[in-house]
């Protein structure tokens, strides 16, 4: 009895903190960092589909992030579209790129696919830098208008926080919905044993390409959100390095889970800020932290809280002791 109440209080507390967080932060800089972590959480959740659920390593996610950002920014700035029309197109444009490289690349086995995705990511960045007439080249796209909901302008850090939180919640719901469905099971079957999956009737090519397109779609949507909350984008942001960071977020947070990529994204985006007092040594600590997590929690941080993780089991034993 007392336990249920405590559990509900804990969740209520978490929800409460989430709702007032921007007002607890001292200035817009920190609010901006939190907002960025929410965007990366969405992009990382995209990567989670092809890597976490379907088992194929992709280093192209930053590329899809960029395709979405540029598609949305250019549609609004140069073609004078509205945000709400540009957003889905950004996602679909990224998804189309996912299909285009997915079909040839997914015939390759894991290591070679990873290499192909690296190449693709670099190609996207080169197009952003060099197709100046379309993308404005290395100088990037400036003065991207903020998002409007009716007459309300989402241009403050606080407003953007709630807007992005809503999108993150939506992304988490979609991931959860897919996780608990035939589609999710088919992704996982391909990850666990392709041959058995195929002999059970799962079309491997379709499943892999669809998973890849879904990953790209999330990346593209994240890109659009990024463009219209940052007001400026340039090719530098969407580099191979960024793909590695995104991959690390999923891996460290917990691949193949709903919350894992979110925890990984928030952790890895906030870590440099929280460790600023270490000056130039903060990166070393982040690096060591990642290595330790990979050794002691190879399934990711989120696994600690699952039924067979250390924290999960401790919580269960606490429950059992208090109900005796």
């Amino acid at each position: 009895m007392k336990n249920r109440l405590l559990q509900k209080l804990a969740w209520a507390l978490l929800l409460g903190v989430l709702l007032v967080l921007p007002h607890l932060l001292p200035n817009n800089y920190y609010r901006g960092v939190v907002n960025l972590s929410l965007i990366y959480a969405i992009v990382a959740m995209g990567l989670n589909f092809i890597y976490g659920y379907t088992g194929y390593i992709s280093f192209a996610q930053a590329g899809f992030f960029g395709v979405g950002a540029y598609t949305s920014a250019l549609l609004v700035v140069d073609a004078h579209w509205g945000f709400w029309s540009a957003l889905p197109i950004a996602g679909l444009a990224a998804a189309a790129c996912g299909v285009a490289i997915g079909i040839p690349a997914l015939k390759l086995s894991s290591h070679y696919l990873a290499m192909a995705t690296i190449g693709f990511g670099i190609i996207i960045q080169m197009v952003m830098q060099n197709w100046e007439r379309l993308t404005h080249g290395a100088s990037g796209v400036h003065d991207i208008p903020s998002i409007t909901i009716g007459t309300y302008n989402v241009d403050s850090a606080v407003g953007q926080y709630y807007f992005l939180l809503g999108f993150l919640a939506l992304a988490m719901f979609v991931t959860w919905a897919i996780d608990n469905s035939k589609l999710g099971r088919s992704f996982k079957a391909v990850r666990e044993d392709e041959i058995a999956a195929s002999s059970a009737g799962i079309d491997l090519t379709f499943t892999k390409v669809f998973s890849f397109a879904l990953s790209a779609f999330f990346g593209g949507v994240g890109g659009s959100l990024y463009a219209h909350t940052s007001s400026y984008i340039s090719p530098d942001t969407f580099s191979f390095d960024q793909s590695i960071v995104l991959f690390t977020m999923v891996l460290v947070g917990g691949a193949g889970t709903v919350c894992g990529p979110v925890i990984g994204a928030i952790g890895l985006t906030l870590a440099p800020e929280l460790l600023r007092f270490l000056k130039e040594y903060y990166m070393a600590l982040v690096g060591v932290g990642i290595v330790l997590i990979m050794i002691y929690m190879p399934q990711g941080v989120v696994h600690l809280f699952s039924q067979d993780g250390r924290v999960g089991r401790w919580l269960q034993s606490v429950k059992q002791r208090s109900t005796r």
Partner: protein
């Protein structure tokens, strides 16, 4: 003893004992599989009649699993035709052949290790249950009904193999014998016309093997045609309506179990000089 407990769980088993042969559901016509210089399968002609249990036996390396891999679509045969349910299927993708009503198990059990027993069986229904992306994301009533139906049917199949209590256990935490049964349940979930069993009795103890014999008979009595590879001759003799013997990729005998037992070439190639089959 084992028979009693199995009968208590499933009710008595009626064995199909009509002598006539149904039309061939599966036909291999002069099929050869050549890997480099090696003829793994050499001009094999084989017919599996509808509703029968057909066994494929032979020494290790005789090409039996290769034949199954050709039938299920993993290999495209170098020569020859494979016909299933009237259609020519050699060269078809294995998922497509599965969709036509062919299911199989594997010599080294291939389960989805991180998925639960229930989910493993549900995968078998992939082509039967319809759930589109929109239904999934919006959690429509149609989606909920489909998920409920697939879970119920999977639970029924688990109950048939006696593993309903293990529904939420991850496949990697099940025993070898249990995993083999789940693989068969997954194949049954496909509602197939034909099941290919690759050494289903391998690694099973006596009780498990006896239970498996009853399970295979129940499957056959449902009208599912069975082609199985086995080394356990007691198992083969208690089940097979027809036996094909392979040696070095070639068919050396094909007929009723009684004929195979007394075939000199089979005895020499497979069983050694002494006719040890007669002591069954």
């Amino acid at each position: 003893m084992a028979e009693e407990t199995y009968a208590a769980r499933h009710g008595s088993v009626q064995v199909n004992s009509d002598g006539g042969d149904g039309p061939p559901l599966l036909q291999l016509d002069n099929v050869s599989m050549i890997f480099g210089g090696l003829r793994a399968v050499d001009r094999l002609t084989l017919e599996v009649c509808t509703g029968k249990i057909h066994a494929l036996i032979g020494p290790n390396g005789a090409g039996k699993t290769t034949v199954l891999n050709i039938i299920s679509g993993f290999y495209k045969p170098t020569e020859g035709l494979v016909r299933f349910n009237g259609q020519t299927i050699q060269g078809f993708d294995s998922a497509k052949i599965a969709g036509m009503g062919m299911a199989r198990t594997f010599q080294n059990v291939r389960l989805f290790k991180e998925l639960t027993a229930l989910e493993n069986v549900q995968i078998g229904m992939h082509r039967i249950i319809k759930e589109g992306l929109a239904e999934t994301v919006f959690r429509t009533p149609a989606f909920r009904r489909a998920e409920l139906r697939s879970a119920e049917k999977a639970k029924e199949l688990l109950a048939e193999i006696g593993l309903q209590d293990k529904a939420t256990v991850k496949a990697r935490n099940l025993s070898y014998g249990q995993q083999k049964l789940i693989e068969i349940a997954r194949a049954l979930a496909q509602d197939p016309k034909q099941i290919l069993l690759d050494e289903p009795a391998a690694g099973l103890n006596e009780t498990e093997t006896t239970d498996l014999v009853h399970l295979v008979r129940i499957v056959r009595d449902r009208g599912i045609t069975i082609l199985l590879i086995e080394h356990n001759m007691n198992f083969v003799m208690s089940l097979a309506d027809r036996i094909t013997v392979l040696n070095f990729g070639r068919k050396i005998a094909d007929g009723a179990p009684g004929e195979i037992v007394s075939n000199e070439e089979v005895i020499q190639a497979y069983l050694g000089r002494r006719p040890s089959l007669r002591s069954t």
